[in-house]
């Protein structure tokens, strides 16, 4: 099992969710985050002083997957979240040791 962490542009959420559903992955956890990277922020103006906003709004999706799903899930995310512009985001894959569904106590693949 793996935990896939995808940092995407907020506007891509619906596309990514649909793409994931299409590959049979229906659960995920979404966090609002702010990203810092190559993408330039924008300038704001307040009372005659300009300043940069460097931390840009992004969404972080956490998706626990089985090893078999991994490849398809990664492809689905990368394709759906892609716009070709700087700041499209990253996908990270972490090894997942164990998963439990709180409601039933089921574990691992059954818990997802």
């Amino acid at each position: 099992m793996q935990l896939v962490i995808a940092i995407i542009k907020p506007s891509k959420l619906t596309d990514v969710r649909d793409a994931l559903a299409a590959v049979g992955c229906s659960g995920m956890t979404v966090t609002e985050v702010r990203g810092f990277g190559r993408q330039q922020g924008h300038t704001e103006l307040y009372r005659g002083a300009e300043y940069r906003i460097d931390l840009l709004p992004k969404l972080r999706l956490d998706i626990a997957v089985t090893a078999q799903q991994l490849e398809r899930v990664l492809d689905a995310i990368v394709e759906a979240a892609h716009s070709g512009q700087t700041g499209d985001g990253k996908v990270f894959v972490l090894p997942l040791q164990q998963a439990i569904r709180i409601r039933t106590g089921e574990t691992d693949a059954n818990a997802l």
């Binding site: 907020p10 506007s11 709004p57």
Partner: protein, 395 residues
Amino acid sequence: MPIESISVDSLSYALNSFYLLISAALVMWMAAGFAMLEAGLVRSKNTAEILVKNMLLYAIACVCYLLFGYSLMYGDVVTSSHAPAANFFFQAVFVATAMSIISGAVAERMKLTSFLLFSIVMCTLIYPIQGAWSWGGGFLATAGFRDFAGSGIVHLVGAAAALAGVLLLGPRKGKYGFSGSIYPIPGANMPLASLGTFILWFGWFGFNAGSQLQLTGIDNTDAVAAAFVNTNAAAASAAIAAYLVTQLRWGKADLTMILNGALAGLVAITAAPVTPSPYLASAIGAGAGVLVIVSIYLLDRLRIDDPVGALSVHGVVGIYGLLAVVWSDPEAQLLAQLLGIAVIAGWGFTVSLVIWWLMKRTIGIRIDAEAEYVGADISECGLEAYPEFVRGRQP
């Protein structure tokens, strides 16, 4: 300050002027009401920009009407029952109301500069010219068209201009999907929208009761008092009617519909706030409360995107209010009312369409897609309305 010897006439002059000035100040205060209502019903990313629009449209309306509009509408005004300046001020604040209607309907996607340019044309020409036809004593007045405080002359003309703009602008991105699906875009701040409605309700007493233009003399006094009572009764019934419709139809009390309902009651009674009994005023209001919800619902199905419901509240209900005049005012005739409606709506819509279209062809009237996504606050104003409150839901 020694007591000068004061004559009865000068007392009457003072009292009438004061009444008109206070009424005008209440109408000015309505500008704050529109600003809060609209700021509450747009998303947080477009809030600062709608505030800029509301503040500036009021300012532009006052300046344009001072420079050109007033003399265009009324020619050389002679008043003897009250101070001329009081009369000017009362007329001036009405212009801003007409313009406020537009800012709501085109919210979240219209360019700031184009909006401001349009407001100059509106306040200098579109509004005063049609105002001259009725309140200025022109052909609509002669034809017997009756519109006491401006359901048509102020509200309908604003809504007609707004409709032209909305049609050329198109809906907000993400509002309508393929195959007829409609995505609601909830406003960011309901207390603000409610506050705006309360402010408008309060200010409307000045709008309607001030339109008697004279307070002294038993008949005038009674008319002013009737305008207060009827204005309040119409708004109250309309709010209740709107609530009952949403409760019965959807099983929930949609706050924004109730707010629109109350405002619809106010618009409807504006055409004749003095002549109806309070019971008839309540009935007129109740009709407006139902009508406005039906109208909002249908316009949405027609994919005419109006974030705050201005077209329904001021346009559809404005027409209804003009027609309802015949129920209470024996001097009103249906034909004259229909003529007035056609002329005002036709004029407002056509001229505005030409202006908006010329702008669209030249400087553009819509912010670009990226700016719309990021929000007009950052693209047009450079700042955020609520910089510390994270956005909790994606657009």
